[in-house]
Amino acid sequence: MSEQKVLSARLFGPLAVLVENSKARWTAIGAILILMAIGPFIFGQYATVIMTNALLYVVLALGLNIVVGYAGLLDLGYAAFFAIGAYTVGILTQEFGVNFWLTLPVAVLAAAIGGIIIGGPTLRLRSDYLAIVTLGFGEIVRLSARNLDITGKASGISGIEQPYLFGWHIAGYLDFYYVFCVLAILAVFVSVRLANSRLGRAWLYVRHDEDVAEAMGINRVRVKLAAYVIGAIFGSVGGAFFAANLGAISPESFSFTQSVLILMAVILGGMGKIPGVILGALIIILGPELLRDLGPLRLLVFAVGLLLIMLFRPSGIWPGKGAQK
C-alpha cells in the first residue's frame, strides 16, 4: 500500500504543487488560457474539432460532477439531460422556426422541469434507488426520441441552423471551438462559485453524512434536488450547443454509453475536484485519439490505461486537499 503511495506521489507530485501553491496555480491557469486561444493555429483543423468535442465533455462532466461529486448522487442517465437540451433546440428551431438564442432558456427550463419530475420523488430515497431510476430515465428519453414523430424517430433531426450572435455567424469549426471554450470557462466559473458557497458546503455535508446534515438543519431533499437540477441545466446547455454545432442529432448520441462515458470522466479525474474532472474529460476524449496509431488495439490499450489509473489512484487522478504528506 505504501509502495503504491510512493509511486503515485512520484508520478503525480507536480500536480500536488498546483493544489498547494496559489501562484503556481494562477500561472498554470494563465498558460492554459493562452494555449486555448492560440491552440487552433498551432494544431490545425483536425485537432481543433477533437478539442471542441473535448470541451463539450468538460461542460458535461462538470455538470455531472455537481450531482455525483458534490452531492454524492449516482446518476446513470445523465445523457437524458444532454438529449433534452439538444432536442429542445432541434425541435424549436426546425419545426417552429424559433431563433436559437430564444430556445436556450426553453432548453434550460425543460431540463429543470425534467430534473424536478425525476428527482422530486426519488431523492427522498437513499441514493441506490436514484441510480436505478436515472438509468431508466435515460433509456426512456432515448427511446422516446427514437419513436416520436416530433423528434424525427431513428433518423433524428437534421439541418439545425447555426446561430448568429450580433452579426457573427457561428458556423465554422473555429467559431464553435471558441464558443465551447467560453462555455467550458463558464462551467468552471459556476462550479467554483457554487463549490465555495453555502449550497456547495451543504452538498458536501449531505454527501458525508445525511443524518448529521439533517440534524444541523439542512433539508437534504431540497439540497439534493438543487444539485440534480443544476447538473441537469449544465447537461442541457451542453446539448443545445452540441445540436447547433453538428446541425444534426440522432437518438444514438444519447445512449447509456454516453452517460457512462461522462461518469467515467468524473470518477477518473477525481469526484468533486474541478481540475481533476476537466482532466478526466480530456483523457476520455483525447485518449483514444492519441492512441489512433495503435489501430485495432487502441481501445484495449486505453482500457488498460484507465484500469491502471483507478488501481493507483482510486479517488481520481487529481490530488485532494492534504492528501500528499
Binding site: Y205, D211, V212, A213, A215, M216, G217, I230, K321
Partner: protein, 263 residues
C-alpha cells in the same frame, strides 16, 4: 409547567411491537440544565431521536416553544431551535474544523445558487456572518486549534468540543448532548462542566444531557430524570435522585449499578 421550553406528554414509541418508550412525560424549563440518566438500553437516545424528529413516536406530543415538533422533519426541528450532538462522534470527515461548524449556520442563512454564482452583496455579507459566527462558537467552546485543519485530525476531546460548537452554530434555544463526557479524561470533564454552565448562563440556552458519568450529572444538572425500560421512574434534584429507592433498584439490576451511583 405549561411555560416550559420543551414539554413531552404521553410519548410512546414501539418498534415492531417492542415498547421502547412508554407514556413518557417530562419538561425542560428555560435556561436550565436537565439530565436524563438510566441504565443501558433504557431508551434515552430513542427519546432524543423522538425529540429531534428522527423517530416518529406513535403516541403523545412534543411541544417546543409553543409548537408541535412531531410534524416536523429533523431539519425543521433544528430550525425551530433544538440542536444536538451524537453519542458517537459524527463530524464530517474530510472537512475542516471551520467547515464542520459552518454547517450549523445553514438553517440561519438563505443564499441560493444564483446568489452564489453572482456573489451578490447579500451573499457576501451572509458568508462573512457564517464565518464569523462559526469562529465565535469555536472560540466559545475553547477550540484553539487551527480551524483549517481536517476535523478528524484533532485530539479526541477537541473533536467533542467541535461537535458542541457545531450544534451551537445553529443558534438553538435547547441543546441536546448525548454522552458528551464519553472518552474524556478527568480534566476534560471539568472543562465540560464549565462549558455546559457557560452555555446556560452566557447564551441562555437550556441543556438536556444524557450521561453515564453520574458524578458529572450530579454536579451540573438542576433537575435529573431517570428512565428505565422506557418508563420515567423518577425525577428531582441530585439529592432526591440519589436517595430514591426506585433508582437504586434500577441501577442495582445491573452489575455495575452500585459503582455507578457512588460519588
Amino acid at each position: 409547567m405549561s411555560e416550559a421550553l420543551l414539554n413531552l406528554t404521553g410519548v410512546g414509541l414501539a418498534f415492531a411491537g417492542n415498547t421502547v418508550l412508554d407514556d413518557v412525560n417530562f419538561q425542560v424549563p428555560e435556561k436550565t440544565v436537565v439530565s436524563l440518566i438510566g441504565p443501558n438500553g433504557a431508551g434515552k437516545t430513542s427519546l432524543f431521536n423522538c425529540i429531534t424528529g428522527f423517530y416518529k413516536p406513535q403516541m403523545g406530543s412534543v411541544m417546543f416553544d409553543g409548537r408541535e415538533m412531531l410534524k416536523l422533519k429533523p431539519h425543521g426541528v433544528t430550525a425551530a431551535g433544538i440542536a444536538r450532538t451524537f453519542q458517537n462522534l459524527r463530524l464530517f470527515n474530510e472537512m475542516t474544523v471551520l467547515e464542520n461548524v459552518m454547517s450549523g449556520m445553514h438553517c440561519r442563512s438563505s443564499a441560493g445558487a444564483f446568489a452564489a454564482i453572482f456573489r451578490t452583496p447579500t451573499q457576501r455579507r451572509e458568508e462573512k456572518e457564517i464565518d464569523e459566527f462559526s469562529r465565535e462558537c469555536l472560540d466559545f467552546c475553547g477550540v484553539d486549534d487551527d480551524v483549517d485543519r481536517l476535523a478528524t485530525t484533532l485530539a479526541y476531546g477537541h473533536q467533542r468540543r467541535v461537535e458542541i460548537a457545531r450544534a451551537l452554530a445553529t443558534k438553538p434555544k435547547l441543546l441536546l448532548l448525548d454522552e458528551p463526557a464519553a472518552g474524556l479524561n478527568a480534566g476534560e470533564k471539568q472543562d465540560l462542566v464549565a462549558l455546559i454552565n457557560r452555555i446556560r448562563d452566557e447564551r441562555g440556552i437550556s441543556v438536556l444531557l444524557i450521561e453515564h458519568d453520574t458524578g458529572l450529572v450530579m454536579k451540573v444538572s438542576e433537575r435529573i430524570h431517570v428512565l428505565d425500560h422506557g418508563v420515567m421512574i423518577a425525577e428531582g434534584t441530585a439529592k432526591e435522585i440519589q436517595s430514591n429507592p426506585k433508582v437504586i433498584e434500577a441501577y442495582l439490576g445491573q452489575e455495575d449499578g452500585e459503582a455507578s451511583l457512588e460519588l
